[in-house]
């Protein structure tokens, strides 16, 4: 933490936030010795921890904050998957109910809250799509198991998450059309590689190759590769 002595400094700042994060940019200049610095304060991590605590204490008002902060993102993820407004509304409601009923299992010192929320929303949508597509559940991993918060990576510094989020978004934009198509079908519509091969009328080997190359790019952008 920086130690500042305001009488000797000129300083200013800028607050920047969006639906998922908040940062504070701060500069200061010492008279006679010009300098400029910047820090990003992870105010959001503290707020997120408090929010999780209030949810665990069953404070209904915390759900208001949760919805206002993540409702649009959760609805958007589900709508992108199911492409139907009425179904997306139902599944969004189900997602928040599930978060409420499962929040006691969430360990905010171990796992990333945002990644977990997104997983709960995505799995509701994938569950729905599986039932519509009559995918044999016996052949698929249980989505319930994939919401076990012990699986999730440890919460990072918020500024690191913002940087990684941007890097992944840029990496997605840099994929070629074929790569982007298979990533969208796996990540946004929950399709297996076999299902993608059938849908696109491409050999399974080709689809696997496309998925593999695209994931390598995303892994590199997110810094989640084997070198870690």
């Amino acid at each position: 933490m920086l130690s500042l002595h305001p009488p000797h400094l000129h300083y200013g700042g800028k607050v920047d936030w969006n639906s998922q994060s908040a940062g504070v940019a701060f500069w200061f200049r010492h008279p006679g010795r010009p300098c400029l610095s910047l820090m990003i304060a992870d105010h959001d991590a503290k707020g997120r921890g408090e929010l999780v605590g209030r949810l665990k204490r069953r404070e209904a008002e915390a759900m208001v904050e949760l919805y206002d902060k993540y409702g649009k993102l959760i609805y958007s993820i589900i709508f992108r998957a199911v492409n139907n407004a009425a179904t997306a509304e139902d599944l969004t409601q189900e997602t928040f109910f599930r978060i409420w009923s499962r929040i006691q299992t969430f360990n905010d010192e171990r796992g990333s809250f945002e990644a977990w929320l997104v997983a709960v929303a995505r799995n509701r949508a994938f569950d729905h799509l599986r039932s519509v597509r009559h995918t044999a559940a016996a052949n698929m991993p249980s989505l319930d198991d994939l919401e076990d918060t012990r699986l999730f990576a440890r919460e990072e510094n918020q500024s690191d998450r913002i940087a990684k989020q941007r890097a992944v978004k840029q990496a997605l934009e840099g994929l070629n059309d074929d790569q982007r198509e298979v990533i969208e079908l796996t990540h946004f519509e929950g399709m297996t590689q076999t299902e993608i091969a059938n849908k696109l009328h491409k050999p399974l080997g080709t689809v696997k190759s496309l998925v593999r190359s695209a994931l390598k790019v995303l892994r590199s952008a997110a810094g989640t590769g084997a070198s870690l």
Partner: protein, 241 residues
Amino acid sequence: MNCEQFEDLYELYALGVLDGPEKFALEQHLLTDCATCRSRIGLALDQIGFVSASVPLTDPPANLRHRVLNTFAPAKTPRSQSFIPWAIAAALLVSLGTGIVAEDRARRTDAALAQSLNQDLARMQDVLDILKASGTREVAFQNATPQGPHGSVLINAQLGVALVVGNLPVPGPGLKYETWYVPKSGAPRPVKPFFPNEAGVAVVLMQSPADASDLKAVAVSLEPADSNPVKPTTLVFAAPV
């Protein structure tokens, strides 16, 4: 296979879209509690989260906020009819989620799970049918303390009687709950034993008494689990109807 050979599978597994022999091989490997692979799945979940969060944002309908948050609004007194759909949703979610999954996944077949879920769904549908039917009378009840049992009794002479109750403690070892029809004259009659789910919610569907107009109350008592009680042992609550 060793960990390196799973390099391209972590994301697909974490998405729940891995299938075939690759899924089988990774699951078998995970049974060894491999710390490396668990860590990589955690990172994959994070990475997938970044991809999911890059979705083009779509404004939800304005009424969705109210609809979602209404589910979590503090309960009003006296409790209204909205308790019943909430209780049914809670009961279903618990049975679909932690209850059955945690208890039985390892030893029950998919067919048995599906059958159990279908039975739960059918029971909830029956209760909703009673709720919607014309001629159904609903009587809300509440314990003297806010923390005590509360809920509703739905009475339909043709379709049956449904007891929907929340805030019910899990009975101690060797105990069960028993429902009773209390007539205007005569002794209470045991109707059906039950256990609440882990959320303290129970939805009990019963046949209507022979003469619904003679029903004075629906009561719940605690009884030894292996007994066939003829009169209530420990009365938990009675809902006058």
